[in-house]
Symmetry: C2
Subunit: 358 residues, 2 copies
DNA sequence: GAAAACTCGTGCAACGATACAGTAGTTCGT
DNA sequence: ACGAACTACTGTATCGTTGCACGAGTTTTC
């Protein structure tokens, strides 16, 4: 609430040193016209000035290397063209890949991206949204799986368009919220069916805390596939975890694997909630001398193809989703017809899911 | 240069719908005082108003859920407290970890971070710097290894403080530029010496294009360690690559490994320019049936401990470097004495560098 | 030949917040 | 009793840009 005063001094010192940046008035003076005329030129109203004037103003702008102050423009109501992107954890390669993909799609339409790291903390999520809002950013892609988005109401009420990613629509969602996501339930269903086809019957589900919308759906897909094949659900095969796991998913996966191997009737295959858990579980299994146990991941992060055995996984169509989101932010009405909001996953079979042998 | 006009309309429509956000005038009117008084309260000048007035103003602010417009404050010269961070590739787990680390250090001092992805493109680097500058951001951490930073002169002249990361100081650098980096040359020297101690004599260096300051230094460290041990340099052991490699380092590493294995006298150990190349090379070696060849990476990304064999690597002290950088941005004079600008790396020995057997 | 229309501009108020000068009204010192 | 000092505010100009109303001078129209 209370802030130290006196920052205007700094600006004044800069000016005394001659580090001043040119304003519209400087350009106007240099060109011998009024600021209004310069503004007219800048705002596509060139038709109401003489070509000679136009040229003089352009020369003055060039000479002073003038750039309009976006802060002043924003004060007048101009939007900040930047797209905000909030992710749970940049240290997690999946979110890094996602950010890179959205960057590419956004850049193709001439919009830059500010990426923010929420650490899955709703409070940080809120402060980043308000920070972006304070900077005039109009569109925010919120990669979150929190069931409720109430903490963002103030910003949404103020007109910030929020597009949620990795979070299928909930009943309690406000109507202006858009949700773009892969079909999580369908993805783990594919994964589990793949393991069933390879002869596995005792299949575990390895995950951090199942507290997000997407993880609930992934668990549901695993359960549906088992149920459809007449395999009874066994809670022992879904070890509980208190933490969500991002950079530390290695530790969590290891703990889950230890619990599974300690069972009287351990599983022959694992469905991991994502690739990071799959990699962690794989390392734990090899250390425990059970490299025979099959593992399938979810996300298809690039590293999955570099490790050995290469990871079988469920691919999220990141490129297509990124394009849809950027289109939604750029031309909402048009894009809402062209793109779905839930995208189909695909199975990527590699070496980590061998046929059951024993 | 020329932009579509008419955005003030949007604001007006919002206001008609009642979505108006409270301004300092609204608060003043509601509290029955002048805007100046509200401003005085906001700017730590409470001593010059009656306690009752103070209370009324605070109540009005609360009732209208007023937040000062930072855009207006910035127009008056207030700084944007956000820290800008530009990285070459968020899809690369090392840069993701670095961003997360800087986020944590920065958050501890109450400053948020805008992360920008440059794709190693100087032009993008420039537009992001100017974007951040346009938003009033005063401190930018530029994670780049480009030898020249001339493209950022305009912003630096305008007073934007740039702190370069992963780039040791160059002679041509302007004096106001700060460079924070790990001792790259010392790191690969450590790595190479470790392989020598394990009995290896024929050691290759696997990298993407060696076009950045940090990679040149890493190559130099490898060469120095060999020279110090009387091993002649062999260009065949440093396969050239046209691309730098980030998300695609798997492919590049594979190509390098193929070239090395085709030699008459192939290496028994590899020094990789970073962990991503090390992982890619490891996969390629296993596929080629040569899992016996030792590999050491650089960076110590979290995944390195999850793969098998776990990756021996050179750790960058990211936490310490992040703290130093945030301190430099927050209290420059103080921090310049407390922290070094070049940080020592440490060797992390795991399973991927066995003693030479044959 | 006067009104209308067009050309090429300028002046002004506003966006929201702020620093400083100014100004009533009260209290104090001598 | 009268200026000085204090308290508790307010008025105003400013940051850089913009849209609209206005205006002076020239050309066209009937």
């Amino acid at each position: 609430m209370v802030r130290a005063a006196g920052y205007a001094q700094r600006v004044r010192i800069d000016q005394e040193q001659g580090c001043t940046i040119a304003t519209i008035k400087d350009v106007a003076k240099a060109a011998g016209v009024s600021p209004s005329t310069v503004s007219n030129l800048l705002n596509a109203r060139e038709h109401l000035m003489h070509p000679d004037t136009r040229r003089r103003v352009l020369e003055a702008m060039e000479a002073l290397s003038y750039k309009p102050s976006r802060i002043a423009q924003q004060l007048r109501g101009a939007p900040n063209p930047t797209l905000g992107l909030i992710v749970p954890s940049v240290a997690n390669p999946f979110w890094g890949s996602w950010a890179a993909e959205l960057e590419t799609a956004s850049h193709a339409r001439g919009r830059q991206i500010y990426l923010c790291n929420s650490q899955r903390d709703p409070e940080r999520e809120r402060t980043y949204v308000e920070q972006l809002w304070a900077d005039g950013v109009e569109h925010i892609v919120l990669s979150t799986s929190l069931p409720s988005l109430d903490h963002l109401r103030p910003a949404m009420d103020a007109g910030v368009q929020i597009i949620a990613f990795d979070r299928e629509q909930q009943e309690t969602d406000p109507p202006e919220l858009l949700n773009v996501s892969v079909d999580n339930e369908g993805g783990t269903w594919l994964a589990t069916r793949h393991l069933l086809e390879r002869g596995h019957r005792r299949i575990a589900f390895v995950s951090g805390a199942i507290r997000t919308v997407s993880r609930r759906r992934r668990l549901a897909g695993y359960q549906r596939a088992l149920a459809e094949n007449g395999i009874p659900l066994d809670d022992d095969l879904v070890p509980a975890s208190p933490d969500l796991g991002d950079a530390d998913s290695g530790t969590l996966a290891r703990r889950a694997v230890d619990a599974l191997l300690a069972l009287d009737d351990p599983p022959t295959a694992l469905v991991a909630v994502n690739d990071m858990f799959a990699l962690g579980a794989g390392a734990a299994l090899r250390e425990a001398g059970r490299p025979d146990i099959a593992i399938i991941g979810f996300d298809d992060i690039p590293i999955g193809s570099l490790v050995s055995p290469a990871l079988t996984t469920v691919r999220q169509p990141l490129r297509e989703m990124a394009e849809a989101i950027v289109a939604l932010a750029t031309e909402p009405s048009d894009a809402e017809q062209r793109y779905p909001l839930v995208f189909p996953p695909t199975l990527v079979v590699r070496a980590s899911t061998p046929r059951r042998t024993t």
